[in-house]
């Protein structure tokens, strides 16, 4: 017998690309057309491979085209057989469906979130060209921008087709007819809508003229229009009665327009008067821009870097060399989802592992099942069923159970998605229901049907490879299956261990987070944000009187143990730093102003939050507006600026040592608290009394008696006794 050379074997293998019937007839003849070449066997081999694979695929396509009816018939038989086989063992099928459903549900829910947040474009035309521009400081990235800075950026930069600045504005709606309501407004330049490239649904947006003259016009969000006006199309030209003023409603935006966040109800002009743009140091605006055609992000970043160094020279006192000041340009999407990317990707990997484990589990069940069925398979083989046919039938079974698992998984995914909603950032557009997302449905059906079919086909291929005689006798099958199951179990256990280790790490950091003592008590505390309208409360005395009376009314409410107010609630991630000078303290870097976190407090804020007094005293009624200025500092601040840590009696001057502000004397030192977030370590803090800093924006806080049934409603009740028309 002639030994087949490697060449012949390779050609033989390539010929297998042709359908079996073809091979029976022409196989050897075709192979004979490719004799072993004398030289350059590699190139010839490559040519033969391409030639035969192409011809083989063509022949198979011809085959399928010529016999569609026959093929479909076979498929139908296989499908019927698969359904029957699944129904014969409902417990087995149920287990497979449940396992896959669990994995598919998790995967679909997480994929749904991933899809809406990371994969899908923002709902603005050419969203890749949208960027967010922020300031860089040592220790801060993408910080807010001041109006003069915006004016400089937009007038000097050539990389952008348009640029806009916006900031949040609370708007109190007057109680005319309907209830008084506090709505979330966004103050923006007219270019805001151009940058995002979205046309209004009704009416128009602001013009640059209105922007400059401070016209009283307003554009409504779709949600607000529906909520307050029931979607009345005649609202254009109507007035929005705000406290003491009336804004003309000029437009309504489409529902998909949710910028800067889904909570925005009304957009009003920025009223950007040239030369009167406010202080360069008042960093409280956000800037977005659209890249000019043909300009890359990189070029824009380079240009802004050049502008930053120009500005740094022109305004050396604002941007001292030690401050690490710079301008940052990042894609808008990055800005919106940046923090979410890593955890979402980790979650996706984790649930993908769960799916792998589920697959191993299903494969294990299938192997057990094939062992059980090896007799059936052998009998059918003996009766002439081809291997391909048997594999195909098992594949159908897998597809069927897999798709069942996918459907059940989708229901689970819908529930999970709804449960995960509150954790998604508000400024990202997303569907309310995961099932409205076709891509998610396709993903999960594909994943589970694929997983089911793959495991089924693999196990079937093992089972059918066994000689029929052995199988009929029931031999070897067990040994073979044992090996397969041992392998699957090993894979499953190692995947599970990997996942458990990761879960352990995650759990540990979570437990550590829970164990953190923020230094304050947040249980049974009710809060309500108040923004006093400038029209009703024009001066400091009126504002202070309002908060004094509200505080007293609140304290009188039944079930309220203590009442107070603060300019910014702790643990909300918000920061607000004030610049000040410390008597007798020389900053390590000359010229860099000392800034620390500062809050305005009122009433029994420290007591109700459980913030401990360490030295000195708390604010007293004697610290009124005309009394000497006082301040309370945190322990960290005391230790940072006074070497002995003994701060009581020392003095600070707001806005810097050379400012016109009178000295503020430290009257007390309180314990450090985690004010910004639970993860952020405590930072130095200054607290000022509302009596001396009458801010119109305060959050009322009340400690409630847990035994008393009334909830946060008490604050609204208290406010109403003071000012019936004021919204809370």
């Amino acid at each position: 017998m002639k030994v087949r050379s490697a060449w012949d074997r390779w050609v033989g293998l390539c010929v297998r690309a042709y359908p079996p019937q073809f091979r029976r007839r022409f196989g050897s003849d075709l192979a004979a057309q490719y004799p072993r070449p004398a030289r350059s066997a590699l190139r010839a081999g490559l040519r033969v491979t391409v030639d035969l694979v192409r011809g083989g695929i063509g022949a198979r396509i011809d085959d399928a085209r010529n016999r569609p009816a026959e093929r479909l018939d076979g498929l139908r038989t296989d499908a019927v057989h698969a359904v029957r086989s699944v129904r014969r063992r409902p417990l087995f099928a149920g287990m497979v469906v449940a396992t896959l459903a669990l994995a598919a549900g998790l995967n679909a829910a997480v994929f749904g979130i991933l899809d809406t947040t990371l994969l899908r474009p923002l709902p603005y035309p050419a969203d890749r060209d949208l960027v967010s521009i922020g300031n860089l400081w040592t220790g801060f990235t993408h910080a807010s921008v001041s109006l003069p800075e915006y004016v400089d950026y937009s007038s000097r930069a050539r990389s952008f087709a348009s640029m806009a600045v916006y900031s949040n504005a609370s708007i109190n709606l007057a109680a005319s007819g309907s209830a008084a309501e506090r709505v979330q407004g966004t103050r923006a330049t007219a270019s805001f809508f151009d940058v995002l490239g979205v046309a209004p649904l009704l009416g128009r947006t602001f013009t640059a003229d209105e922007d400059a003259t401070g016209a009283r016009v307003a554009v409504l969000s779709h949600a607000f229009w529906m909520r307050r006006y029931g979607g009345d199309p005649g609202i254009i030209g109507g007035t929005l009665e705000t406290d003491g003023a009336a804004e003309e409603i000029v437009g309504v935006m489409p529902a998909s327009f949710e910028c800067p966040s889904a909570l925005t109800d009304v957009w009003i002009p920025m009223n950007l008067v040239p030369g009167d743009a406010g202080g360069r140091g008042a960093h409280n605006r956000r800037v977005i821009a659209r890249l000019a055609p043909g300009v890359s992000l990189h070029q824009a970043q380079d240009e802004m870097r050049r502008i930053a160094s120009q500005l740094q020279q022109e305004y050396a006192d604002h941007y001292p060399s030690g401050s690490g000041w710079g301008i940052e340009v990042v894609p808008l999407r990055e800005r919106l989802v940046g923090d979410l990317r890593a955890p979402l990707q980790a979650l996706m990997i984790a649930v993908a592992f769960v799916l792998l484990i589920a697959c191993a589990n299903v494969a294990n069940l299938m192997v057990a099942r094939t062992t059980e069925r090896s007799r059936e398979i052998a009998t059918r083989t003996a009766f002439g069923a081809s291997r391909g046919r048997l594999v195909r039938q098992t594949l159908f079974e897998g597809l069927l159970t897999g798709a069942g698992g996918g459907l059940a998984g989708l229901l689970l995914a819908a529930a999970l998605f709804a449960a995960l909603q509150p954790w998604l950032p508000q400024d990202l557009p997303r569907p309310a229901n995961v099932l409205s997302d076709l891509r998610v449905i396709a993903f999960s059906i594909l994943v589970t049907a694929g997983a089911g079919a793959l495991t089924a086909a693999l196990t079937a291929m093992r089972a059918t490879r066994m000689p029929a005689v052995d199988a009929l006798k029931g031999a070897r099958a067990t040994a073979d299956a044992h090996r397969a199951r041992a392998l699957l179990t090993t894979a499953q256990v190692s995947l599970a261990v990997l996942l458990l280790v990761c879960a352990g790490f995650a759990l540990r950091s979570f437990v550590r987070l829970l164990a953190i003592d923020p230094g304050l008590r947040t249980d049974h505390v009710a809060t309500a944000r108040i923004t006093l309208s400038g029209a009703r409360y024009p001066d400091a005395a009126a504002r202070l009187a309002f908060f004094d009376r509200t505080q007293a009314a609140l304290a009188r409410q039944p079930g309220v143990l203590r009442a107070g107010a603060v300019s910014m609630l702790p643990l909300t991630g918000q920061t607000n730093d004030w610049t000040f000078g410390v008597e007798g303290y020389v900053p390590p870097v000359a010229g860099v102003p000392t800034t620390e976190q500062a809050r305005v407090v009122h009433g029994d804020y420290f007591g109700l939050m459980g913030i401990q007094l360490r030295a000195g005293r708390l604010f007293a009624p004697s610290d009124h507006a005309s009394a000497p200025r006082v301040v309370i500092v945190s322990e960290l601040l005391a230790r940072k600026y006074w070497r002995d840590g003994d701060a009581v009696g020392r003095r600070v001057r707001l806005w810097g040592l050379d400012s016109d502000e009178p000295w503020s004397t430290v009257v007390g030192v309180v314990a450090d608290i985690r004010h910004i977030t639970l993860e952020d370590a405590p930072v130095p803090f200054l607290y000022f009394p509302l009596a001396q800093w009458p801010s119109p924006n305060m959050t009322l806080v009340a400690r409630l008696d847990p035994a008393h049934a009334r909830g946060p409603q008490v604050i609204a009740d208290a406010v109403r006794t003071v000012d019936i028309q004021h919204p809370t």
């Binding site: 075709l30 004979a32 057309q33 030639d51 011809g55 083989g56 063509g58 022949a59 010529n66």
Partner: protein, 114 residues
């Protein structure tokens, strides 16, 4: 396999293979040569494609392999193919149709036509 649709024109390669078999049974390699000669070198069929064509035409009943005992002396190893009566008829019909087309294309133009 269903018989080929009469109205469906044969593919060029199929017609060329039938034409090459018109003079008598041939084996695979000679067929590629014959096709190349007939088309004046314009059509070169690779063996992988040739057998695909043969497979298709065999299925359609246009050609058939020569029985083993009918092979020429000394060349029993290679398979020879011959044209079937159906194949001959189909090829002729096709050739006639093409001849009409060619005649129309090559005829002198009518006056006034551009």
């Amino acid at each position: 396999m269903p018989p080929p649709d009469d109205r469906q024109p044969l593919r060029t390669t199929d017609l060329l293979v039938l034409a090459a078999l018109n003079d008598g049974p041939q084996h695979g390699y000679a067929l590629t040569q014959g096709v190349a000669d007939l088309s004046r070198g314009a059509v070169r069929i690779r063996p992988g494609d040739l057998y695909r064509v043969l497979y298709r035409m065999d299925g359609a009943g246009l050609i058939e392999p020569l029985p083993d005992d009918a092979r020429p002396e000394g060349d029993e190893r290679r398979t020879y193919y011959r044209i079937t009566p159906l194949g001959r008829r189909t090829a002729r019909d096709q050739a006639r149709m093409l001849a009409d087309v060619c005649a129309a294309m090559l005829a002198p133009r009518k006056q006034g036509a551009r």
